[in-house]
Symmetry: C2
Subunit: 490 residues, 2 copies
């Protein structure tokens, strides 16, 4: 099942006002930067530089009472003097000036504010009071607020980098079908960088920090509704609005969009650390386990697992059963993959006797049961790859096949024919997840990805992903009555 | 505890004849290649090419009755005509000719034979009989035999590449302190390649295949005795000689050499696949678990875990306790690392009140308990890194510290001072394992490794390695009475 777009069902769960209030934040036509710095290395200077470097297609208004221009763009003394009510204002001023600045933004009809500044509820009682004042502004005016104590947001498709995370300098994100929301700014930045280095395209990236208004739960719902997003990645230390989380997860599931969620603070020590970090209450961990299971969310333990599943999910094939076929050029890896699959509850169903007999005539010393060991001989006779794959697919048994080729499939002479074999197989069996385990440079890996196959260096990680994606399929298939989405705090 | 070298104890467990019979195999002065091919791409042509490319420092004798020379080296018609009794003969002839060839080798006083050919016990009853004949030669003559159905061996320090694995072409192994033995040739090749790409130096590499004579168990013992090896990595589908395995594992432990073992065939499906692969009997899995626990072996599930632990172990610091300090520039990652550590049974002991107070004065909004969150501010004031690390080490509580710096520590201006801080810390606290979690290119990672710190991109993987290395320390510390080493099959 892929990306269901049942618009009737969506109408029932999605009040338009929710979508409208976050759209200016994540797709702004105009951006003000309050506390804009002429120094492109400073926190107040970076968003301007990143947006210009990325060719942001909207209007930018630096606000700085001490300068005529900032980084060669005319500056304004106050937000009130900016010639239009901007979609998004970035607030990069000292903590004590933040509340006044936010009030001025609301008065200037700014639609959304992103507050970088730290020093609120995570630090002191005084900070808690100032954060409450910000929450009151968000509640009593139409202006939405992200933060405080966050690293901002980006939309990689428009070049809107409303963030000061220097990860952007280590590798600019590329647009893709993944939306990412993280309570932690630094960890969200780390995730963004690792995703970018792995070639995973993050379209929308939101760090929510102390969550005086916009939170992880609401953002998941917004991403679930966005037509360009098909995979949602979330990190949180605590979730306050339980109903909003449930509604967003239900919506994502109804739309066939997998949610991969890392909820930390599983242990007492971790939960205590979370309290001092984003002032989050981690809550009872078993409750989260239950919620995630109910809504078909994949709970990830770490960065690698999170991005493995997200990456594979972007290919859009979720196996309809847990039956997996294993093809290998190394018998040893076949055994390893079989162990991993069985221990994860996947079914390593044997091939039919007829199919086994057919493969045995092709390669007498191969092992055709499942795992299907085609041995390195397959690379002296590439028709063995094609025929073995055809026979496995013709069985009609497997909704996923993992093929281990290590570095051999990255050899120049092999890439063309093997990727063509898999492209053709994918064309004829679009609902079968075909994952390849290959060691090779990024350009070679890309060739196999373009054929429709996720690629993993490690065969065990490839098998784990089959487990994760088949569980999404089970969750999407469950009957899901429309759920009323709780509106954001009025 | 690092690399104990108690020679008295060793004398008790190590009959010299065992060492002697494998030394010519792995450090040969002369090598014959029977079935040598002039085509450097063929199985019989590759070892010659690999050895010449790597500058093998011994004498090479191609054996081929149809050619005067092979790859420009004078050839001999038979092994009997080779002008000296060679240390190692590589046998790359059709399966049916293998037994006669092996007999001729033994008659020519060859000290060890490596048999590439497949088609023995893994294939048929006839193959089983031919394999028994090989075993008989090994038993009744001084000649040792590796294989059949193996990919050979290498010694990366001398350029002896007695193998046809084409992984050598994807990245030539570099000498290091790791010894690797794998029953599976293709998986052993995959491991060798991944290790090489990760910068892990494998000195000796042995694939044992059908194990008619030399097996994984004996090789572990040989590696445990070798002075240049400090970490042993093993892969097996089944182990036949239980006593030999026990003796080898006891020896490795007595010498303070960690063994990382991947034993597959954990499940019924996996065990069945193992039978058709190397004809191995996987045995009851729980027995292996018990044996590994008893001898302090780290049982790894997959390639990544295996090489993570091996890599970190090469740094030679095994934490004497399970108390770990966590330093981070991301509060979110601090929470994640704390969860991972606690769930693995590590102790995330809080800092003393005095130490916390001291750090709090340095950085009021930091969180100094443990995890110690120094925030990104540390990179505007690098003395914060130094002071925080000093204070954590001065506590005397932690035998391991994991420091998460993501890509920030890879920035040009940061590498020098941060690596110097850690080098100095390591100098003053050599028994404390300092692991860094950094995202950066290989040359930057190398700088931190040279300071004495293993580097992991993923902080969760870094924490898991602390668990693994502290368990080795516990195993090494246990009282271990000398164990009589069972001699190889007489």
């Amino acid at each position: 099942m892929t990306h269901a777009e049942d618009s009737d069902q969506m109408a029932a769960v999605q009040p338009n006002d929710v979508e409208d209030t976050l759209a200016p934040l994540l797709n702004p036509g105009s951006v003000a930067i309050i506390g804009a710095s002429d120094n492109p290395a400073r926190i107040g200077g970076r968003p301007l530089r990143y947006m210009r470097d990325a060719g942001f297609n909207g209007r930018i208004y630096p606000v700085n009472p001490n300068r005529e221009s900032v980084q060669e763009i005319p500056a304004f003394a106050t937000i009130a003097e900016v010639p239009e009510p901007v979609d998004t204002a970035i607030i990069a001023v000292p903590a004590r000036a933040v509340v006044d600045t936010a009030e001025a933004c609301a008065a200037a009809n700014v639609k959304a504010a992103i507050i970088f500044s730290a020093g609120f509820a995570e630090m002191s009682d005084d900070g808690r009071r100032r954060q409450d004042a910000l929450a009151a502004i968000a509640r009593t005016t139409p202006m939405r607020i992200v933060g405080p104590n966050c690293l901002g947001v980006y939309n990689s498709a428009t070049g809107f980098f409303g963030t000061f995370t220097s990860t952007i300098e280590a590798g600019r994100p590329t647009p893709g079908r993944v939306g990412l929301v993280s309570q932690s700014g630094a960890y969200g930045s780390h995730l963004s960088l690792i995703a970018t280095l792995r070639g995973i395209g993050i379209r929308f990236w939101v760090t929510t920090g102390n969550e005086c208004d916009v939170d992880v739960a609401e953002t998941i719902g917004w991403l679930a509704r966005h037509p360009d997003i098909s995979v949602i990645v979330a990190y949180a230390e605590g979730v306050c609005d339980r109903d909003r989380l449930f509604a967003s997860l239900a919506l994502a599931r109804a739309r066939g969009k997998p949610v991969i969620f890392q909820k930390v603070g599983r242990t007492d020590v971790g939960a205590a650390a979370a309290r001092t970090h984003t002032a989050a209450l981690a809550g009872t961990d078993a409750v989260y386990d239950g919620v995630f299971r109910q809504y078909g969310v994949h709970r990830a333990r770490d960065t690698e697992e999170m991005l493995d599943v997200a990456y594979a999910a972007t290919f859009g094939t979720f196996p309809a059963s847990r039956r997996v076929g294993l093809m290998t050029i190394s018998g040893g890896v076949g055994v390893q993959m079989a162990d991993e699959a069985v221990e994860r509850g996947l079914e390593v169903t044997p091939m039919s006797a007829a199919a086994q007999a057919r493969l045995k005539t092709l390669l007498p010393y191969a092992s055709p049961r499942n795992p299907v060991d085609i041995t390195a001989q397959a690379f002296n006779d590439l028709t063995l790859v094609t025929t073995n794959l055809d026979v496995m697919l013709a069985e009609g048994t497997y909704d996923a096949i993992v093929a281990f080729f290590t570095f051999v499939a990255a050899a120049k002479a092999m890439v063309g024919p093997i990727s063509e074999t898999f492209r053709e197989a994918k064309r004829r069996h679009p609902n079968c997840l075909l994952i390849m385990s290959i060691v090779g440079p990024p350009d070679i890996v890309r060739r196999y990805e373009e054929a429709g196959c996720p690629v993993f260096e490690d065969p065990a990680r490839a098998v784990r992903v089959v487990d994760a994606l088949s569980r999404f399929s089970e969750a999407f298939a469950r009957h899901t009555p429309p759920v009323a989405l709780t509106a954001p705090a009025p």
